[in-house]
């Protein structure tokens, strides 16, 4: 068994020979810079001055009273520059790419949030940027496509397979094989070959670092439960990571059940997936008996992925974290609930976490604390939610 980048049996580096040297080069660069004081100082300055960190930890008083259970805090990653947690990772990777002398950045994107974050950082650092996006997702998230164009990135729609996130990753990997000398692949989640799952987690773990500090100051204690949505799993990994050793903290990932886990229109990898090797990693995937990757569905383009990061699979198998499926309907209701109750319009991805919290919080004691990681803002989703509710929005 390969020795590097394993979480139990999961993880690894299952990539074509053509990119192996590049993967090793990235691994070496990351190992070199992750503890480098200049690198850390530059990243911290960007987090503070450009991204607007630390993100606020907001006490949701109305929601708490309404649900009648745990005190609910909302980690406002939606207030991060570009509107989601994605920029935390991208700034880290782009600083690394710069130090490695790479001039061209490629990325995949589902909902478009990672693509927008990557296009943003490339604009800031003057790097060429190409973003692969499923043709179906380009339609669902046309606003983000336009945003990426505004930021100077080229968006390439991918029409193969199911025309969603996994196909965008396939195409980005093909590009990477073709342009390995010049190109840095900025992966948006805790997935892919090592070192990506570890590196992306490390750039996102600032979320749980901040939650811990902010709660210590406000409440003088740890949370009892942290809830985050899981597609590939980057915001959840970031929100969980610094609590893994604190066994009293319950860690809950909310995955996309689509129209339900008893229907074929689902993306609930944790509920229905089986072990496999795909996109550079051993983890669990939605697939048939012959290992063909299943077409997946969710109202949320950002959770519409047939696999999950290897460290999440490990956390599940070891019982440290639990994962619950949330349907489109539950997510849309949570989207509307948070908008009306707290005046915060959450991303449809993050609405899956809100939906899980709506079930968990009432069962907890009033002296307990639940933190929702609100990974992104919902402006991008207003059209598709309106469509879901049968409202036709036409702009003249």
């Amino acid at each position: 068994m390969g020795k590097v980048g394993r979480y139990g049996e999961y993880g690894g580096q299952y990539v074509p020979e053509t990119v192996m040297n590049a993967v090793h080069e990235l691994e070496a660069a990351y190992d070199k810079y992750k503890d480098d004081p200049d690198f850390i100082a530059e990243l911290k300055a960007l987090y503070r001055d450009y991204a607007g960190r630390p993100s606020m930890l907001y006490y949701a008083d109305k929601m708490t009273k309404d649900l009648g259970g745990a005190k609910i805090y909302i980690k406002r990653e939606d207030l991060n520059h570009t509107g989601s947690h994605k920029l935390n990772n991208v700034l880290g990777q782009i600083l690394l790419a710069k130090r490695m002398g790479k001039k061209r950045i490629i990325a995949e994107t589902g909902a478009g949030q990672h693509g927008v974050a990557t296009a943003t950082a490339c604009a800031l650092f003057g790097l060429e940027c190409e973003v692969y996006m499923g043709a179906e997702d380009c339609k669902r998230q046309s606003l983000n496509v336009y945003r990426m164009n505004l930021l100077g990135a080229k968006v390439t729609p991918v029409a193969s397979g199911t025309s969603t996130l996994k196909d965008a990753i396939n195409e980005a990997m093909r590009d990477w094989c073709s342009n390995i000398d010049t190109t840095f692949y900025c992966i948006g989640s805790v997935m892919g070959p090592h070192p990506y799952p570890a590196m992306v987690r490390d750039f996102q773990k600032i979320i749980s670092e901040e939650i811990k500090d902010q709660l210590r100051e406000r409440e003088g204690k740890l949370p009892d439960c942290v809830v985050a949505c899981v597609g590939g799993g980057s915001n959840a990994m970031g929100a969980f990571y610094n609590f893994i050793e604190d066994k009293s903290v319950r860690l809950v990932g909310a995955e996309a059940a689509g129209r339900g886990i008893d229907t074929p229109d689902t993306a609930a990898t944790m509920a229905l997936g089986t072990p496999g090797i795909f996109h550079g990693m051993k983890s669990i995937f939605l697939q048939d008996e012959y290992g063909q990757i299943a077409p997946v569905y969710s109202i949320s383009a950002g959770l519409d992925y047939p696999g999950v990061g290897p460290e999440h699979t490990y956390l599940r198998d070891t019982g440290r974290a639990e994962y619950v499926p949330v349907t489109d309907e539950e997510a849309v209701c949570a989207f509307e609930y948070l908008s009306k109750t707290e005046g915060i319009i959450p991303a449809i991805e993050s609405s899956h976490a809100v939906a899980a919290a709506l079930k968990i919080a009432p069962e907890m004691g009033k002296d307990q604390i639940l933190v929702i990681n609100l990974s992104g803002r919902g402006d991008k989703d207003v059209y598709s939610i309106a469509r879901y509710r049968g409202v036709d929005l036409v702009e003249e």
Partner: protein, 261 residues
């Protein structure tokens, strides 16, 4: 029993020939045609044939083989059906047959069960483009147990990895001609003399593949190695002719083999 791949290269060396290895996607357009295509290609000069096992998400393939995989899967191709066609082929040919496939297909089928079947149906080797040398233990011990070769790949970026990989290679070394995915290229400009310099220390044949689209390019590439591998250019002809592509493919294979004799 001696692996057919080794016997094949010994024979070619004795005849002072270079190997022609051809690829088609199994089940494109259907299994019946696959069987006919294999027999026709062997008849017209192919020395070794790779059957592509279609995968839903073939990250190492260009458009041509992506589309062939989709056509095949749409037609209901499964690994078991491919084993069936190999079983039938083995009553008609004793030449080397390989499967080119993605690691998830083996892993999900069950590595033990997969290689046991390969041995039973007399598959001589597998090529797994998304299983790099460092992760070979995923299949290597089981492949060895059943006498099936795991064909290693090197590429223009392999550099100092070539010796390490060659030292543990059996059958032949698959040399990826240039950066990128499978698919035809008009020319290939990789410095093979430099890339393959370490190969003088190893007794394993080298075959160049990815992008070889014509007899002219096959001839040019053959100067650097012991054989050439042609996939997409053949698959394009299968795509054009469908069930009726057999004569055109045969003709093309004969033309490819000509400069290698």
């Amino acid at each position: 029993m001696k692996n057919r791949i080794d016997s094949c290269f010994e024979q070619l060396k004795a005849n002072n020939e270079k190997a022609l290895i051809t690829f088609i996607t199994a089940g494109d357009p259907d299994m019946e045609t696959t069987e006919k295509l294999v027999l026709e290609m062997f008849d017209k000069g192919a020395d070794i044939i790779e059957l592509g096992v279609p995968f839903s998400d073939p990250i190492a393939e260009g458009k041509t083989i992506q589309l062939a995989s989709q056509r095949s899967l749409k037609g209901g191709t499964t690994l078991d059906k491919i084993f069936d066609v190999v079983k039938s082929l083995r009553t008609k040919t004793d030449k080397p047959l390989l499967l080119m496939m993605y690691v998830n297909t083996i892993f999900k089928y069950g590595t033990e069960r997969f290689f046991k079947n390969c041995a039973e149906y007399q598959i001589d080797g597998v090529i797994v483009p998304d299983l790099p040398f460092e992760e070979r233990d995923e299949i290597q011990p089981t492949a060895d147990k059943y006498g099936v070769y795991n064909i290693n790949l090197v590429s223009p970026t392999s550099a100092d990895r070539v010796s390490m990989i060659a030292a543990e290679s059996k059958g032949f070394l698959y040399v990826v001609s240039s950066l990128g995915v499978t698919g035809t290229r008009s020319d290939i400009t990789t410095d093979f003399d430099k890339l393959l310099a370490p190969m003088k220390d190893f007794d394993v044949p080298c075959c160049i593949g990815f992008g070889i689209s014509s007899p002219e390019l096959a001839e040019k590439m053959s100067a650097f190695c012991d054989g050439v591998i042609v996939g997409s250019a053949i698959v394009n002809r299968v795509a054009e002719g469908g069930k009726d592509s057999v004569p055109a493919v045969g003709e093309f294979v004969a033309a490819l083999k000509e400069p290698l004799r």
